[in-house]
């Protein structure tokens, strides 16, 4: 699982975060360090699709929050992933 958009949504599902906090969080739970270009590419796409929104901030470190549509999309993806994981685990178990 290395799709940057899913990783960003998964990070924001916990609560609002700015870019660096997302990068740290993703590295912690997924073991993947997203480069700055990759992270902000994903943020741009997610914001355009309305799955995350930027929060008001006086600081340059602008926080982002996941939207309802974003949560719905993430849930769909996780259900699909869960089904794949269950199937794979079942098939890997010795008969």
């Amino acid at each position: 699982m290395s799709d940057p958009t899913i990783l960003v949504l998964a990070s924001l599902a916990e609560g609002e975060k700015h870019g660096y906090a997302m990068m740290e969080d993703i590295q912690r739970f997924a073991g993947v360090r997203l480069g700055p270009g990759t992270l902000y590419g994903a943020i741009t796409r997610l914001e355009e699709r309305g799955w995350i929104r930027a929060l008001e901030s006086d600081d340059r470190r602008r926080p982002y929050a996941i939207t309802g549509a974003g949560k719905h999309y993430l849930e769909e993806q996780m259900v699909s992933l869960d089904s794949i994981v269950r199937t794979a685990m079942r098939r890997l178990k010795p008969a």
Binding site: P36, G41, R61
Partner: protein
């Protein structure tokens, strides 16, 4: 490293930088810069530029790409330098030309002698020409190449004698000049030798302008090529920009689908363009005062026997001659390959354009020379412009066909998208 990061950030579209630039800088300050970050940012910038393209950017980008491609091509092309000598042949001191065509005929005979295998071999060896080619190709091929590509003898004025130019093109100016001098010297020597062999007095040959040392390469300048490349790029950009605009406005067709169709069209166009053999046209211009005599000459030169003899002599369409027979090839050559057209009638003189089309450019030129020789031999004509060496094929145009493929593919993509939408709406 920080400088590289700043440059990479500068690659992002200005609107994107205005929105996210501050945040990105703050992130870099907090996280620090790592080795892969520059590449990551550059890749992200390219992706962002592509996804935020607009009409102006497409046109500008295509123009720059056209200029760059043409610039590289212009630099990669070997430069050719042409040295020119101007000469004049007139009647021997003791007499006058009895026949109006005598200077031209004598010049033709001299030209044949100077361009013979023996004469050119001597020049090649004495001037040490074609050093690399001589290690790879037989001398016969090099001599043919020299006749067809490097040497050009052109009559400028045929009145009361013959004023003509001798051109030699080579990769460097000194070589071009030395070879031109050698050809001029050979012409003067052969003039004397021919006259003594025929028991005749030699023609007066005067070198009006000695072999020049070319200071600039021949052909179109690099700036011209780059300009043409820029214009071609801009034209392509306008087409793509228009297609982009259509896809942005009409949401029923996806850009990727359209790009796929266009790419398929281009691939098909490239395939077709390279499957079609080249066709070159060499052209010469003749002038005559006696149009009736010329018309008779045209009839004789284009008769079945004459054309068939030329096909054998020039070894044209050898495969077709074996498979279809000489009669069929003769008809094809006369009807499709040879053109003799009246170009202008002025002051009692009629100008004719003689051209020949063939898949090999040197053969096209050789056959046109052959036709001109036949006309000159059968009618009192003056060669205004000798058989040209075609530089580019008259067909196919290998840029236009893929371009047409792109446009046709894109239009097909638009049509496919439209039909799919109609199907979904009616379903």
């Amino acid at each position: 490293m920080r400088t590289l990061v700043r440059w990479a950030v500068m690659l992002y579209p200005a609107a994107w930088r205005a929105r996210y630039g501050g945040e990105l800088e703050a992130l870099m300050e907090d996280a620090g810069v790592r080795g892969g970050d520059v590449w990551d940012l550059a890749r992200g910038a390219v992706f962002m530029q592509i996804t935020t393209m607009n009409f102006g950017k497409i046109v500008a980008g295509s123009t720059v790409a056209g200029v760059l491609a043409a610039g590289i091509w212009a630099v990669a092309q070997p430069r050719q330098y042409v040295s020119t000598a101007v000469m004049r042949m007139s009647s021997p001191a003791a007499g006058v030309w009895t026949d109006k065509m005598a200077p031209m005929q004598r010049l033709q005979r001299l030209q044949q002698d100077v361009l013979s295998r023996g004469s050119l071999t001597k020049i090649i060896q004495a001037q040490n020409l074609f050093q690399k080619e001589r290690q790879q190709l037989p001398l016969e091929d090099i001599i043919q190449q020299m006749r067809d590509r490097n040497i050009q003898i052109r009559v400028m004025d045929g009145r009361g004698g013959a004023t003509f130019t001798v051109n030699y093109s080579a990769g460097n100016p000194a070589e071009a000049q030395a070879a031109t001098r050698a050809i001029v010297t050979a012409m003067i020597e052969r003039n004397v030798a021919q006259a003594s062999a025929a028991g005749d007095g030699p023609a007066n040959i005067e070198v009006i302008d000695g072999a020049s040392l070319p200071s600039e390469a021949a052909g179109q300048g690099r700036a011209w090529v780059v300009g043409r490349g820029g214009l071609a790029g801009m034209a392509l950009g306008l087409v793509f920009g228009a297609l982009w605009w259509v896809t942005r406005r009409q949401r029923w067709v996806s850009l990727w689908q359209l790009a796929g169709f266009a790419a398929a069209g281009m691939a098909l166009g490239v395939g077709v363009a390279f499957l079609i053999p080249n066709e070159f046209i060499s052209t010469a211009v003749l002038r005559t005062a006696d149009a009736r005599e010329m018309q008779s000459a045209v009839t004789r030169v284009l008769s079945d026997d004459s054309v068939a003899a030329m096909i054998h002599r020039q070894r044209l369409f050898t495969k077709e001659v074996s498979s279809d027979g000489i009669e069929a090839v003769t008809r094809k050559v006369r009807n499709q390959r040879i053109r003799v057209q009246v170009a202008a009638v002025n002051g009692g003189m009629t100008a004719y354009v003689v051209s020949f089309q063939y898949p090999d450019r040197f053969t096209a030129q050789r056959v046109t020379k052959d036709l001109v020789g036949q006309f000159v031999g059968q009618a009192k004509t003056e060669v205004l412009d000798p058989a040209s060496e075609p530089q580019t094929p008259s067909w196919p145009n290998r840029l236009t066909i893929p371009l047409m493929g792109v446009i046709a593919g894109a239009l097909l993509g638009l049509a496919a998208g439209y039909l799919r939408r109609e199907k979904l709406v009616t379903a």
